[in-house]
Symmetry: C2
Subunit: 320 residues, 2 copies
Amino acid sequence: MPNLLPSPNKLITTITKMTKTNPSAPYQTGVSTRLAARSQTLTTQTSGLAPSHLQANLLVLPARYAPSFRLLCRRNPVPCPLIAQSSHPGSFSQLTSYLRPTSPSNPAPIKLAWDIDLRRDAPKYIVYRDGEPVEEVHDLESHWGPDHVGFLIGCSYSFEEALSNAGLPPRHTVQGRNVAMYRTTVPLLPAGVFTGGTYVVSMRPYRVEDVERVREITRRYVATHGEPIAWGWEGMRRLGIEDIGKPDWGDVPLMGDGEGVFGEGKEDGVVPVFWGCGVTPQEAVMKAGLEGVVMGHAPGHMIVLDVKDHEVFGGAVKSR
Amino acid sequence: MPNLLPSPNKLITTITKMTKTNPSAPYQTGVSTRLAARSQTLTTQTSGLAPSHLQANLLVLPARYAPSFRLLCRRNPVPCPLIAQSSHPGSFSQLTSYLRPTSPSNPAPIKLAWDIDLRRDAPKYIVYRDGEPVEEVHDLESHWGPDHVGFLIGCSYSFEEALSNAGLPPRHTVQGRNVAMYRTTVPLLPAGVFTGGTYVVSMRPYRVEDVERVREITRRYVATHGEPIAWGWEGMRRLGIEDIGKPDWGDVPLMGDGEGVFGEGKEDGVVPVFWGCGVTPQEAVMKAGLEGVVMGHAPGHMIVLDVKDHEVFGGAVKSR
């Protein structure tokens, strides 16, 4: 099933629009979102759900790969900001948190969630065997073994709210679409078994004159990819992206008026802005051809946590 | 003086050979090396001096750039492993250490040196004005102002000893030469004022069958660039390096027999292996065109510290 992962998810528009336009939308909290995913009431993507709550990317590895993966995250903290992992091999409900407040008055790690099941709390998962995606599932109970270690990676949905609060809402959120994600040629720094990987990035279009402000707003979000890694059309080419209209994951990006596909020379003064993306670890699993059963969330289908953005990143992130 | 920084240092061969072949060479400790540099008795590069002692790259910035630089290091920890900084602006002798043991029994930061003067303890410095190198000097006393903040960055000399102890001595150390360093096209992830930078790498040739062992040995040295970021001739091209025989800093790399320049297709089964390099921050200063007076060590002319490798990286690093 080589094209399973890249296939864009066409189901997201309705629920995203609903939650963006309806303040009494379902799933206002992390736990209600997780329980809905756990019962498979919620099987679609999570952008806009449980406003102000941290969401997380998931990667689940056989324990023998865990030291390499921790080192991969340490060497590549922008695409792979590790925020927690299973407390011991096999554990899907006990987490060790690495997440600390950006401006710590209390430097202790932040507890992420009080009732969590990594096997069931994402609305959709991808299962890999020997480095190839083989199945999309809504729970991992039949795949998760006593030797599996789960890792949670920060997600850029956190700074999207800050951008919206500053009057710079990401276009895909306004249009009720999923963010566009791309493979790049930027080498992920190798670590142990993880060799040959490259960055995955998410893209949001902005006016050229807003790029510095966008950089400033997202800078503090170090645990959720932080400020952009590149911007502009030349920046796009330096990442090795050839066609902005053909993302590898997520939805095709549209023009500001919603008519037609976003592209170079089509929209005066608007450029693509790129951030590190938490799909990078799954790409790294494929590039490394890891043996055995590896699992991850389906792109866009995050695990929503109890911790709120402002608890991590400080008070400037207004609660909606 | 656009070619000032890249000019290779031709003075290093004698002193390096002397210290490599003579166990009673001068400067066996960090403090004796620093005092020799401070008195300008030592004005040449420091590879092989004070065996087993950590050496450090230096960058000195106006205080207004300090937050951006700390973030640059946090986002790019492999080329820019920040190990200490001035305790307050203007301080050249009081340092705040960020260096912690790899396997901490005591997680407190490690004190780096008991008597240090960042303005005088490197054998040679480069002074930049408005992003351009303008002067090479042996002390910074006339340039260091009350607003300057010094930063120390880990140096790969630490793992060179481990490689030698494992029977895999870097070729340039055997030949008594300086390591070859190269500009690459790999983007340094931007942070605040630091935009447009690219990685600088150091290169050591190894036999293909030894690369995995070389990776294993250097992996634990996370505070001094850690394991390689690329290897092989294809790896070289992915870094955007066109001619391995033309380094941007350090000495031209030679064949194993010392006859002629190392290059592709010239030496069966031997490939270049590349590590992140602490010259990267100085390259970033130039690419960002930082205003005002910035200072750095001259490549290869490090500040030698009192802390020993085994205190940071554990017991497997045998003392010579």
